[in-house]
Symmetry: C2
Subunit: 372 residues, 2 copies
Amino acid sequence: MKIKYTLLKNEKDTKARYGTLQTNYGTFETPMFMPVGTLANVKTLSPEELKEMHSAVVLSNTYHLWLRPGADVVEKAGGLHTFMHYDGPILTDSGGFQVFSLAKNKEKDIVEEGVHFKNHLDGSPLFLTPELSIEIQNKLDSDIAMSFDECIPYPASYEYAKKSTDRTLRWAKRGKDVHKNERQSLFGIVQGGEYTDLRHYSAKETVKMDFDGYSIGGTSVGEGKEVMYKMVEDGILYLPEDKPRYLMGVGDPLDIIEGVERGVDMFDCVLPTRIARHGNAFTRQGKINLRNLKFKEDFTPLEEGCDCYACKHYTKAYIRHLITSNETFGGRLLSIHNIRFLIKITEELREAIKTDTYLSYKTDFIEKYTKK
Amino acid sequence: MKIKYTLLKNEKDTKARYGTLQTNYGTFETPMFMPVGTLANVKTLSPEELKEMHSAVVLSNTYHLWLRPGADVVEKAGGLHTFMHYDGPILTDSGGFQVFSLAKNKEKDIVEEGVHFKNHLDGSPLFLTPELSIEIQNKLDSDIAMSFDECIPYPASYEYAKKSTDRTLRWAKRGKDVHKNERQSLFGIVQGGEYTDLRHYSAKETVKMDFDGYSIGGTSVGEGKEVMYKMVEDGILYLPEDKPRYLMGVGDPLDIIEGVERGVDMFDCVLPTRIARHGNAFTRQGKINLRNLKFKEDFTPLEEGCDCYACKHYTKAYIRHLITSNETFGGRLLSIHNIRFLIKITEELREAIKTDTYLSYKTDFIEKYTKK
């Protein structure tokens, strides 16, 4: 079954919207944050733990799974859900962003047919095309697949951005033409770089192809917050109301709040698990690093009132001890807390939309989060 | 409350015995295997997962906790149980084995008062005495503490072994004299190296001091299986029937079976978690390494019929993928399986004792386990 988005409420002062996403594995509320399981596992965590923190969709990376263990292995296993024991909805990206972020410029050759680049593990040559990306995702059998796109660097000349945007549109069409998996939805990706007219153009042309949802791509490439927010505004303006909008790779708490305010429904990011591995925790008062000596005898939870497993049973002193002793259970506890933190924020944003209190919620949150 | 061991049945053909151990956190059956949480966490696992695999006592290391986070921090946290969120019985070792295994010979000076050696983390000088070991364990507030002993190297001269055995007896007495924690039991440790008469002597003299239980120490120091089994026989002969016997640091499946046959009640070892980190799993057909290419498309569990979380939900192919991709969730799944494997063996050994079928169980197990 294809996903179905239902818009239930527009917030009065902003473009924020509350809705539901019907999937093969149940119906979930939006806006939502999606944890990232790069290699078919959200690092250190079990699927049961994800459910306990009210996680809905989980993202996994096509490029990484293509290399390890290979799409055929996942297909033979019965698809990603069976392989990783996750009976919730799974979204796969297209590999486009990994081509951008993992391959160095000199080792990448973008041609009309696809992209020649090097395997980041062993340097061997790889060639990824829109068709192959879809074929891999069909085999992975995720619930939501992404079109293969080029992530435009920032800054980029208008000429290059235009040329790339057009190519991404042709790639989207090619991918859609070969998309076979009936139970898998396919999203188009809005590109256009930093140029308003190209974002509008990209959105309009992508929408003409009638995808099951739309992603905003090409952000988080060094453009800075204000430029990113503008990219989101420009990219979203011509998207249909009855389809979900997904801002790819964004997961900073403040960016989620700004994104939802501009009409975004879905977010994903490795941030909560990545900062966890480095000993960091999100709190309402900003990020804290548990390596800090001041937590050595701090026998309070990461955050008072937090309902996550880590906060219910463990203290900062214990987690600090684990992190400074390189015990991976410390990263597991911080991952649980950080993912739950972002999911909790989206729950609160949904409530703020329903009660038309978005801007006051935002002001309160930012004041606490950025106060030092 | 001190622990209380109740002998319920002697097996007819062997010295294997079935009993119960009453602790501050409930009563548990013996023989039992105790997972090791070196730094107040059984690596990668939650206390809830330990309970799910029917784990009873967990071991933690005095030496390691003394260095990180420090006994005072654990004491201020409310003791180890609160600190690590484990409401089951905890056993702490004395640090004696770590002095032996982590400090190089030249950097170690054993005197009557205690041992001068170097911190394995930063090389700073440390001095551990029988009194300090007990004081630290009192602060950690484990349920079962160990006397501070010298682990005699193998081989050792009779003269050295005799001298060391006498010193360990004096240290046991000194530790017992300062032991204050009313709810903490204290075990004496039988040493004596490879010498039968010294083992008998050590046991008899230690028993005279009337400890709450007795450990067999000084094994797993390179002496080989047959010598170790003899050390156990010699060490156990003069131990009282109404106190638990604990074979320290032993956790190979075959060694557990041999140990129980000789009358041991308790075992601990880092083996199941350590081999897990290297991609190994125990199975009834011997150890397997999940890195092996033959598991790439093996969509069966680690072991058919195993009731552990890993076997219920995941395949060898998936775990192999995680291990070869350096995803720590792979080590977590293997740790769960390996610990459950050893605990399951002790469950089966208890059944074999109750039904007087020890030797046939042993023969069957070894035949399958060692057949290639």
